[in-house]
Amino acid sequence: MGYTIAEKILARVSEKGDVRAGTEILAKPDFVIAYDFPGYTDVIFKQMEEDFGIDKVAEPERYALFIDHMVPATTTQEEELHQLTRDWGAKNKVPVYERKGIGHQVAAELGYATPGAFVVHFDGHISQLGTFGTLAIGVRRHLLEAFVKERIKFKVPETTRIDLTGTLQPGVTARDVFHHIVRVIGPRGCRGHVLELGGNTIDNMSLEGRQSITCLAMFTGAITAIINPDERALSYIKERARIDIEPLFSDSDATYASRHEIDVSALEPIVVVPPSPADTRNLSEVVGTEVQVGYLGSCASGRVEDLELAADVLEGHKIKNGFQLNVIPTSQEIMEIAAKKGIITRLINAGAFISSSSCDYCFGRMGVMRAGQRAVSTGTLNVRGRMGSPDSEIYIVNAAAVAAAAIEGRITDPRPYLKG
């Protein structure tokens, strides 16, 4: 029997040459990535020195730090945390990327996503590097292990394969596809597994769309998601990759824990109803619900095609008086492309508030809601209190539906706005 791409990648970075799901290995990550956050990076730096007597990491080129949360700083403590990170990076010769955008996206732009590579982070949304055939896993505080040891203990996971088939209707996006996957397989349908995606829907999907889906893998219970690299992924990384390794691919006779085929050709825009990230429904069920806030951004959504889709919906319209539409492109590179294409101007003309890239709108540090407010959001999560008061609500929808709600002040089907 053949191997999955995840097994091949872990075999490549393990001390054993041949591994199968279930094998426990010591794996050497190609890259160790983190953003600075209290309780994670500051604790790791301290533990390295105080508990292990290590003042510098051995191979600094394997590490990357991002400053993307608490940007810009609003308290002296936040700026002190950032300075600690900058100082640690300078001492260790580890690059610190600041004000370039959300790290999970910028990591791809900067070539940390290489087909066949193994990457660890403490945050699970790093799974989106799977778009480029990279096995990228969020290990929470276990990340300390990757700072004090060359290799981390890791159990090779099983893989669930999902093939997506069919052409998406206009106004239906990758974001809808992801939440539909959760609706079909359930919030634990892929529990503890790698979610391997394929099928003609994925083949025909942009890299941005694939990043949107792989980013959210955790909400199926998966530890990450991965797509076998195709020409589109390989050409993106060609000029960017930091390491030169042979791309790896699943064998046609690889062993999967389970396989699903999901036809998305009849899929409608969806909504994830608060307060559960698993409560996916057709958007039509909540049409008419009054909303006061819109958030278009995050590491899952907020890329060029999301911004363009929102601009298309808003074309010829103004957002409703009093509605707060916050648009935060996922990275500065994306902001620049969107500006050159005129998308930013179109959004501003419609009444959107545009901010430079930051994680802060997604977790309720900026654009905070008071009790009783409701948002439509492309953020990662809709749990109670995620964007402010525990008595505010978040409806997760695609970029087009955020824009349509901004025009009407209530949740609405965006598709009629795209027919003009």
């Binding site: 426990e24 292990f52 505080r141 503890g192 530890i223 525990p390």
Partner: protein, 173 residues
């Protein structure tokens, strides 16, 4: 060093599947760092006397995919402050599981556990036999064996202890 059996009462049964642990202290309290304060808040909305009723060694029982969502550490920091010694669940969300094992907090997946216990039953996790015994009803259920890595981490009391143990092993072999 073998893991010691955990014997205690079932202090709470989380009946919801896909339970988000942040709800234990409430999302608005998730930035609190003081373990004593977190302990006082634990499950207060569900049982105002919860903190007073818990005895050291008591255990929690969860349903399928316990820890789903974006788990944070404070809820279980509060629970440990009260003396909660571990969690048994039908199954665990992988991110939550990994995070708490790194804290040295014992947990075991035990299919059928929610139907085999009632609140305040006296139960015992036997790591060597890979089973849970309900001493109140005399029901015995198997638990899923820990991986080597997770077992070593719990034996060492968490991630830092485990890495020190690996240091010793790597210098002697």
């Amino acid at each position: 060093m073998a893991l010691e059996n955990l014997r205690g009462r079932v202090a709470w049964i989380f009946e919801d599947e896909d339970f988000d642990v942040d709800q234990i202290v409430g999302v608005k309290n998730i930035k609190i760092k003081d373990p004593a304060e977190l302990g006082k808040l634990a499950l207060r909305a569900e049982d105002p006397e919860f903190a007073a009723k818990v005895k050291p060694g008591d255990l929690l029982v969860g349903n399928q995919n316990f820890g789903y969502g974006h788990p944070h550490y404070p809820p279980m920091i509060g629970m440990r402050h009260l003396g909660i010694a571990g969690v048994l669940a039908e199954s665990f969300s992988p991110g939550y599981w990994r995070g708490e094992i790194a804290m040295g907090f014992p947990q075991a997946a035990c299919p059928g556990i929610t139907k085999a216990v009632s609140r305040w039953d006296e139960i015992e996790i036997d790591w060597a036999a890979n089973e849970v015994q309900n001493h109140t009803t005399n029901i015995i259920l198997p638990i899923e064996p820990l991986s080597d890595g997770d077992r070593l981490m719990l034996e060492a009391g968490g991630l830092v202890g485990y890495l020190h143990a690996r240091d010793k092993q790597e210098t002697t072999t």
